[in-house]
């Protein structure tokens, strides 16, 4: 059996929605270009729908054997200057950002 997904069309709205999710500003004139580029890429990857993947387990890594665990020891920290050395704005050891409104 071949899985067939609904044709999903990418609109300018889709581009705005995902750029908002990804926190990337997109100029209005860019939206159209991205719409066509991403549409064609997405159409192209939909070739995967030809493949029968029923009863196939997804594979997220080629390594097998499971996760290795470390011992519960404090081996790190106390490197405030390393943490802050590339910071755009900091004060009193805090990172500073424009006010977050909750």
């Amino acid at each position: 059996m071949v899985n067939k997904v609904n044709q999903m069309t990418i609109t300018k709205d889709t581009i705005r929605k995902i750029s908002n999710l990804a926190k990337i500003s997109i100029a209005d004139q860019e939206v159209e270009k991205l719409e066509s580029e991403i549409s064609s890429i997405i159409r192209w990857v939909e070739a995967l729908n030809e493949v029968d993947t029923e009863n196939v387990d997804p594979m997220s890594n080629s390594l097998t054997g499971g996760l290795r665990m470390r011992e519960d020891l404090v081996t790190d920290g106390n490197k405030v200057s390393d943490i802050l050395s590339n910071s755009p704005v900091d004060d009193e050891n805090f990172f500073v950002v424009p006010k977050v409104i909750e």
């Binding site: 890429i41 594979m59 390594l63």
Partner: protein
């Protein structure tokens, strides 16, 4: 005067240890050559001052008989490896002033053997690209030119700075990373040897991540023997990387030149159908004969799902990248571009800090993971990934290695493929399946095409069997015709 062009990693290492020249002399030659080669635009950052200090120390060690395995040998490092105190940009505007306080595991291991950092090599921004044109510092340039045209060619990508620097003899060995072909394709485009080890073979700690389940570091060198030597010191278990495999590292040089008599080489029949340049096809058939002559049996194999590797890759890699690159938000480090509020800060920083290709891939990755599309795209691609992996597992029950061309074309002109992402992506058609399956593979220069441009043969083998790559790789190296770059036009 040291002949850098005809030197390789092994010969330089030996000359230093035999005190034929000093590390300082060698370094000075490299610095001079690098300085003269600025047209190639291969270095993002140079490290000459520190390097000189280190070279002096290396010379002391050599004199005292305390030389380590690669004492005093200069190295170029892809600008994706974090280097303590040395700017690390991933060739992105968003990290243009980032100076890590830490050293990647791999570069540290190489320093521990006495290697000296020459500088940081250009790459496609965040390793996303196949031409090294997406770097924020502008395109890197291939030292090779076609015999019929004067146009500048791409050195391949994303490790174009690394491949270009080794090809131009600006360093005997450069580190690189390969997510979908980013070591092998540039190696093929520049007549160098590019090795992508098994996923988990080399630590990813301290390497700017692109797609974590696919990224793997490896060396670009001039010869197979150099590659074997380099891997020995790059490879190894790292407890700081949960995906680093605790599998013993061998002395890989022993495999170089070892007989392959009675062993089997698989040739995937599906790849015959691919749209490959004629010269590349011919070269591939030549290679089949080289292996026959060397006593190997050629076996036709089938990798039925390989043709789905590219689409699967262009879902999985952007998905992982969209998440991996979320940390570049202008809060903790890197470029910050403010606006009216925090949301503006995020969007401006990322909108202006990332280049077009990176943004495109982040958006694709965001899309395929978003609610309603995850199953249709991401999950589907991960299932196809398993089928691709299983194809290889089946094949390696029958053959020792699989041999294919590395790329469908030789190096193309700068700007030629930029406007068509899909055409650009198709460059990786022969290399991407290997990353999805986590396998090791090597690209060996296998001759020049009718334009005088280098071609590469890719050899793939089973997980953690890198030795066979060197064993089979040296056959290509021995059998091919000369691939010397006749003109040093950029100097």
């Amino acid at each position: 005067m040291i002949d850098l062009v005809s030197s390789d990693l092994v010969s330089i290492r030996n000359s230093l240890q035999n005190k034929e020249f000093t590390a300082v002399e060698l370094l000075s030659e490299y610095i001079e050559r690098i300085t003269k080669s600025s047209k190639l635009n291969l270095f993002n950052t140079t490290n000459f001052e520190n390097a000189l200090k280190a070279a002096k120390e290396s010379d002391q060690k050599i004199i005292r008989g305390e030389a380590r395995s690669l004492e005093g040998v200069p190295i170029g490092v892809k600008d994706l490896f974090c280097t303590a105190g040395v700017r690390t940009t991933a060739s992105s505007k968003i990290l243009e002033n980032f100076v890590p306080a830490y050293e990647s595991t791999i570069t540290q291991k190489l320093y521990d053997q006495g290697m000296i950092l020459l500088g940081k090599l250009s790459n496609d921004e965040f390793a996303m690209g196949s031409s090294n044109e997406t770097s924020s510092s502008g395109p890197a340039v291939n030292p090779w030119k076609s015999c019929s045209s004067d146009k500048e060619l791409v050195p391949g990508g994303s490790s174009g700075g690394s491949s270009g620097a080794v090809a131009a003899s600006l360093c005997p060995f450069a580190t690189a990373t390969d997510t979908g072909g980013s070591i092998r394709q540039p190696a093929a485009f520049t007549g160098t040897v590019g090795l992508k080890p098994t996923y988990g073979r080399c630590s990813r700690w301290g390497i700017v991540a692109f797609a974590s389940s696919l990224d793997q570091a490896g060396p670009i060198t001039k010869t197979v023997a150099d590659s074997a030597l380099a891997l020995k010191y790059m490879a190894g278990y790292d407890e700081k990387d949960s995906t680093s495999a605790d599998v013993g590292v061998e002395d890989y040089q022993q495999f170089v030149g070892q007989s392959i008599k009675g062993m089997t080489v698989g040739v995937p029949k599906e790849y015959e159908e691919l749209d490959l340049e004629d010269d590349i096809k011919l070269n591939w058939h030549d290679a089949i004969n080289w292996y026959k002559s060397a006593g190997a049996e050629i076996v036709s194999i089938s990798l039925p799902h390989s043709k789905y590797a590219l689409p699967a890759y262009y879902i999985i890699a952007p998905a992982e990248a969209s998440s991996n690159l979320a940390r570049y938000d202008g809060v903790k480090y890197g470029t910050r571009i403010t606006g009216d509020d925090l949301d503006d800060l995020y969007k401006n920083t990322r909108g202006l800090g990332f280049g077009a290709e990176v943004k495109r891939r982040i958006l694709i990755g965001t899309y395929v993971l978003s609610a309603g599309y995850y199953d249709a795209y991401y999950l589907k691609a991960q299932k196809v990934r398993r089928l691709i992996h299983s194809d290889f597992v089946e094949a390696f029950k029958k053959v020792d290695v699989i041999m294919t061309p590395t790329t469908p074309t030789t190096a193309f002109g700068i700007g030629e493929n930029l406007s068509d992402p899909l055409k650009m992506y198709s460059n990786d058609i022969l290399t991407v399946p290997v990353n999805l399956a986590g396998l090791p593979a090597i690209s060996i220069p296998s001759g020049l095409d009718s334009q005088g441009l280098p071609m590469g043969i890719q050899i793939i083998t089973n997980h953690f069997n890198e030795g066979k790559l060197f064993q089979f790789g040296s056959i290509v190296e021995k059998s091919r015709s000369s691939i010397t770059n006749q003109s040093e036009w950029w100097l």
